[in-house]
Every structure is written in C-alpha cells, then in structure tokens.
C-alpha cells in the first residue's frame, strides 16, 4: 500500500486530501509513523520527531493514527487478494506476496489480476497501492518499489539481468544499511556488481548468507509464498511499550510490567499456549536496549506468574539509567488443552484468570483487571510489524 496510514486518513477526511499530513501516535513523545506523499516531497520521513517534520514542512498537518481503522482496512484488502489466490503471504500490515501461478486459467494474466486488485482497493477504500510482478518474491518486491504511488511494474524473466545491472544493492529486500556498507567496501554497489562478484569470497566473508547474496545479485530467489496457515508456529508471545515518560520509580516499572504481563498472558491463554522462558526487555533513555531471560520450572501463561517471573528478572538487574521501553515475552512455547491444575492454590489462580478472561471477552480488554491498572487507558497502542489478520499474531490494537 502507498503511504498506507496517511492515505487512509486522507480518504477518511476530505479536508486532508492533497495536503501534507503525517500520522503520529497519541503519546506525548511520538514520532511520525507515516506521511503523505505531499509531505514526503518536503523531506518528511517516518521516524522523525514532530518538530523535525514541522521544520521540513511548516504546513504539515499531524493526525493521530487510528490503528483499528488500519487493521480493519488491511484485513479487508487481504480478503480481496484471497479471492484471487489462496497463496497470500502477509508480510506486514501494508504488504503481501501473492503466488498467482495456479489461478491464471481463472483470471487471465498476472497483470490483469494486479489491475483488478488495484481497482477494487481503489473503489472500496479510495487508496492506491503499488504492485510488482516477477518470477519470485525478491524481484516482485523490487518491482513494487520501482513505481510509487499507484504503480504496476513487471520484471519479465528476459529482462532480469538488464534491470538488475544498475539497481543499487540497498534497494534489494534483505540488504540493510550495515550490509550495504560492508558490500560497498568490496566495491559492490549495484546488483550487477553483486551477481558478478566471486561467490567464494562472499561465502568466506558472510558464510551461508554469502551464497544467498550472490543469488540475490542475479535475481534468484526460491523462497515460496507461504500463506499464514502454513507458516511456522509462533515461537514466542510478547508485548513491549515505549513509556509515556522515562521511569526510574520501581512502582511505576512494576505497574507497566503487570500490564505487559496481562497482555501477554491473555493472548497466550486465548491461543492456548504457555511458555517456559520469560524475557524482560529494557531500553534506556539513551536507546541502549538489552534483554534478560530466565527459564521457569514449568510452562506458564497466568498473567500473575508471568509478572512474578518478570519482577524476579528485574530484581536481578542493576538499572543504570531511566527506562524508556519495557517488554515482556514468553517463549519455549507449548500448546495445551484446557486442564485445571491439581493443587488448590494453582487451581484458584487458573479459575480467576478464566473468569477475568470471560468478562474481558464479553466487554473488551481490561474491563476487569488488577487494581493497580485501573484508571488508565490500557492495551496495545502500536501495530507490531509481526501483526497478522488472523491467529496469535492478530493483536487487538487501541
């Protein structure tokens, strides 16, 4: 999707159409999540502070994002895609891969399918997308980035070498800024350079990745389109949050840990998983980020158990700076079927959690919760990159 959140907001509010806008979070110290193409023309970029954006574009209009609007829109768009092929791999809230090989006899050419999808998205939501068509995911992604907004780019098999010859390696999905720097030191600047570079040197320097890099340079990618239902089982359930302000006070930290533990526990119980490893992630004011994990004697998903384990990890740390972000995660997951614990105390805890979950399922998350969490607006406020329209990764956002 093109400038997805900003496009949705411009469509929602006719007064914003054609104007430079940026979608921001509701928190005080928010950054720009997405900006419209009109704002991008002034140099406004994702991740900028609001004052930086204002400097670049004094006319910019800030819009507080509405995550539910975006997750709904994304889910509907994915439904449209699935009408053409069941092989849809959702890679983020605004990006997906479709394998249309098996449905060409039904719908005609890939180009026709692309135009139909674009037309339906435009008709239903008034927003545009860019589509890339090629023989594999690597090239399709590259093609989709070549023409924005509202593009349709086809890289035909016979054109791959010619197209890649001048494409900078940083444009390839999977080559980040660090890898780009490394490769530039070898004199590799374009995909053409990368494809020609001796594979043995790449393998010596980057190991197994070296071989993959070589193939990427030649436009070869054999990774299949994996629909959600065939994707590997999730390995962890976690939540993190950037705090309203940096905190040092233990009571404040514990309150956030309890909230995160409840979010993790509730999602784990909903999808019937329990974890044996608990990880606490902390980010300091200076953005130094670290995590510490601890194995438990048994698999847990009760919010209170997760909280106690997170507190134990916290108490084993010597904090040297105020905390900017906290995260709690359970991993080493085990799927289970409902079974009440044998011991009375554990049984009581499970029954309480079950009762709380029932109420929250009926009336919404945090309708009934721990006393220390009352009074504030709780819940996930950010759409995680791992968000998916269904399943355990479908995190309800505020």
């Amino acid at each position: 999707m093109n400038a997805f959140f900003a496009s949705v907001e411009q469509q929602s509010n006719p007064h914003l159409r054609g104007k430079p806008i940026a979608v921001i979070g509701a928190a005080k110290r928010t950054v720009i999540t997405t900006s419209s193409y009109e704002a991008r023309a002034f140099g406004v970029k994702t991740g900028m502070n609001t004052w930086e954006a204002k400097q670049k574009c004094p006319e910019i209009i800030f819009v507080v994002g509405n995550n539910r609007k975006y997750t709904y829109t994304s889910t509907q768009i994915i439904k449209i895609m699935r009408e053409y092929t069941p092989l849809v791999e959702v890679s983020s809230i605004d990006e997906a891969f479709l394998d249309v090989t098996g449905c060409l006899s039904l719908f005609g050419s890939p180009e026709r399918i692309a135009y139909l999808i674009k037309a339906r998205i435009k008709h239903q939501f008034g927003i545009t997308c860019s589509i890339g068509i090629a023989q594999n995911k690597l090239l399709a992604k590259l093609a989709s980035d070549m023409q924005k907004p509202d593009g349709l780019t086809i890289i035909k098999p016979e054109d791959v070498t010619r197209v890649l010859e001048r494409v900078p390696i940083k444009d390839l999905c999977g080559i980040g800024s660090k890898m780009n720097q490394y490769l530039t030191k070898f004199g590799i600047r374009t995909c053409g350079d990368l494809g020609r570079f001796p594979i043995d040197i790449l393998k010596r320097r980057f190991g197994i990745i070296g071989e993959r890099l070589h193939f990427m340079g030649m436009g070869i990618d054999d990774s299949p389109v994996i629909p959600d239902e065939e994707a590997a089982e999730v390995k962890s359930v976690g939540h993190s949050m950037t705090l309203e302000k940096d905190v040092t006070d233990r009571t404040d930290i514990l309150m956030y840990l309890l909230q995160l533990s409840e979010m993790v526990g509730r999602r784990a119980r909903k999808y019937r998983v329990a974890g044996k490893t608990i990880t606490l992630t902390i980010r300091y004011t200076d953005f130094t980020t670290f995590g510490k994990q601890e194995s438990q004697s048994r698999h847990i998903n009760n919010s209170e158990d997760i909280y106690q384990a997170a507190v134990k990890i916290l108490d084993s740390l010597v904090l040297t700076q105020p905390i900017r972000l906290l995260g709690v995660k359970i991993s080493s997951l085990q799927y289970y079927t409902e079974q009440l614990p044998l011991f009375p105390e554990e049984r009581k805890k499970a029954l309480i959690a079950g009762a709380m979950d029932s109420v929250n399922n009926k009336f919404g998350d945090f309708s009934v919760t721990f006393g220390s969490l009352l009074g504030e607006d709780r819940g996930s406020k950010v759409i995680s990159p791992a968000w998916r329209p269904e399943g355990i990764r479908n995190v309800e956002v505020e």
Binding site: P14, H15, R68, Y72, T73
Partner: protein
C-alpha cells in the same frame, strides 16, 4: 478529532448485503445531512461489533458509530468549525 461520545438520532438506509448508509443525523438539535461517506471501518469491543462511518455534512467531519449489539448510534467525534 474532538471526542464527543454522545447518543444521537440517525436516519440510515439498511441496504441488502449488510450495507448501511447514514443519510442524516441530529446532534444538539441540529439536523446534518450526510454529503459524503468518506470512510468505513469495523471493530469489536468484547462481544460488541461497532461500525464506524466517517461522514461530512460539507462543513465538518463526523465519526458516527453504529453499535450492532444494542443497535444504537453514537457521535464519536467531530472535526471542523462546529
């Protein structure tokens, strides 16, 4: 958008295919005719399904919410001169 969260009276067309189109609504004793339904989305709070409609009367932008659980209409928010 300024939050309002007030129950309102809405005239809407319930068309086949579960399509709902607000036509006009009353808020603070004033009738607003919907000029454009600019966006629609759905969400859930517990058991409740809520249908959100971003509509304009040509001057202001309103967010109307139809709660399918208790069949009520709310004016969620307003943006504009008022």
């Amino acid at each position: 958008m300024q939050r309002v969260k007030e129950r309102i009276r809405v005239a809407a067309i319930f068309a086949p295919g579960s399509k709902i189109k607000p036509v006009w609504f009353e808020w603070r004793r004033q009738k607003h005719t919907v000029k454009e339904l600019s966006y629609f989305w759905k969400d859930h709070v517990g058991d409740e399904t809520r249908l959100h409609f971003a509509v304009t009367d040509g001057i202001n932008l309103f967010e109307l919410v139809y709660n399918a659980f208790d069949q009520s209409w709310n004016l969620e928010g307003i943006e504009g001169e008022q």
